[in-house]
Amino acid sequence: MKLMSKIENVVRNFYFAKRSGIKTTSELDKRIIDDALPAYEQSLKTQSASVQPNIWRIIMQNRITKYGSAAAVLLVVLYVLTGNSGRTVWAMEQAIEAVKDYKAVYMEGTSREGAFECWGRTDDTGEQSKDFIVKISNGIVAWVKDGSSFAYVPSENKVYYEKAVTTGFSQWLGSELLEMLGSIKNTKVMYGKDPDTGRERVTIMSSFIDVTGPKSFIIEFDYETKLAVSLKQWDNMDRSGQPAFHAAKIVFYKEITDSLFAVNIPGNPTYIEKPLTIPDENIGLLSNPEYGISIKGLSEQQACKKILTDMYQAVIAGDIAAIKKLSPVTEILDDEFIRSFIIKTGKKDQIVELVSIGEIIKKGHSKLGSIAAVPVVYKRKDGVKMEDKMIVQFRNLGGELSCVIHGPYGISQQYK
């Protein structure tokens, strides 16, 4: 036995000495990276065809009827990846100022599901999508009413619904979104003229990665009005192939009539509530035992209250490390982004007070275990009260009970 371990040591020493001299050369590194990156980007393009959404997260191309991606769609609202912050040359502030007065928008164009037209209206804050309806050429109609989302599928004669705003613009085409676009480092601005109208146009091109995959887009603004007039969005980084979403026409309105959001569904469809789910691809990070909190001895309701209280207090305190520990998805975001778009230091929509945490409103299951949606009411710096619905993931890792926050369930709504 002694001799065997002596031989092991001889071999160990041999490899140890040998390894210290083994390094890749810079030429080899370059050759490998030069070949690996295009292969990787090609695979992203292929993959993106099966991944959902667009920058506006209109769920139309996501087969509203299918279970699933609502949480992912909405997660993007808060958790968008960008590179380092950097202001674009174009005065984005002018466009930001221009859209402030407009609380409604009409769009028409094409998506993977077919041609569409949609109407959207923001809430009183001018920052959150509230009323929304989209009609697609395949007969699908999706709408939001009283804080719930519905999707009528004529081929099934069914209406799928959930008690959260999971349809619509997760980020209103307003000042906050434009600020975000302006902070993306690779955003490019170009000037030109519309050959049809002769009007001057400003075109913004950018790309980023969020939790649903790579995204790139082109938004065209009218130079004079500073309002967006068209947009295209691709599920890849280089704007190749057909866009996943193309709004060829965008018209802003200061006010629109309620009747535009009225829905008349023919026949007598069956109403089916969508189950609460989270995307499988987020399970890996959510399952890491280094994140979250122990919930030993707590009921699910008590656990939700504890972790959500910790989370909102961390946001109020600007404690980025705590935010990341409680909500593992934020781990991929850089600190500057978290400061700007979650903590929102100094902005009027900065969270300043946690008002209440409600009872669990819905339960579901992920591959990791049970999940629950819980309403949270908070007050912003400008005094406005908002309500989030947050999804908490429960875990049993090696006998240790714990939980983490997955992210928002639906779009934040003004609390009244």
Binding site: E8, V11, I22, L28, I32, A36, L37, A39, S43, E281
Partner: protein, 178 residues
Amino acid sequence: MLEDKILVWKLKRGSSDALRRIYEKYKDDLLALAIALSNDRTVAEDVLHDVFVSFAEYAVKLQLRTSLKSYLLSCVVNRIRSLHSIKSRQNEQVYDAEDIEHDCNEPVRLAILTEQSKLVELALSELPYQQREVIVLHINSQIRFKDIAEMQGESINTIQSRYRYGLEKLKLQLNGKV
């Protein structure tokens, strides 16, 4: 481990920076393993290239059942296995033992160590490939028997037997010489 999980998570979401970071993190380990198994730096570099490009190509669909490091190492092992030139190269000592770095400034001691390294390398190269593979993975790449067994689709007993037989052969060849 945590960093790897995040890297894989980012990678699956289109981060080319994550791809670069994974390469930087494991390139030397993978190359060392490839060299230890193939005894040929040129072959080893090609293996590293092929493994990593293939990894990049399928990264988005990656489903890891082991650690990222184990996964990449097993890719190297599989790639080298599939190269039929292994046998013919087993006896080649492409690696110059003088290249081995020893923490020793005394010329006589250095000469002894260099000579010993040559003997160990020769003895290792004469082992059956499967036994050498287990020894390389366990000692050089510090992979546990359980993980090697998983990587190779064998029972842990088989892996431990290969390791033991390999060491016994080394013992016979090196006994008294090192």
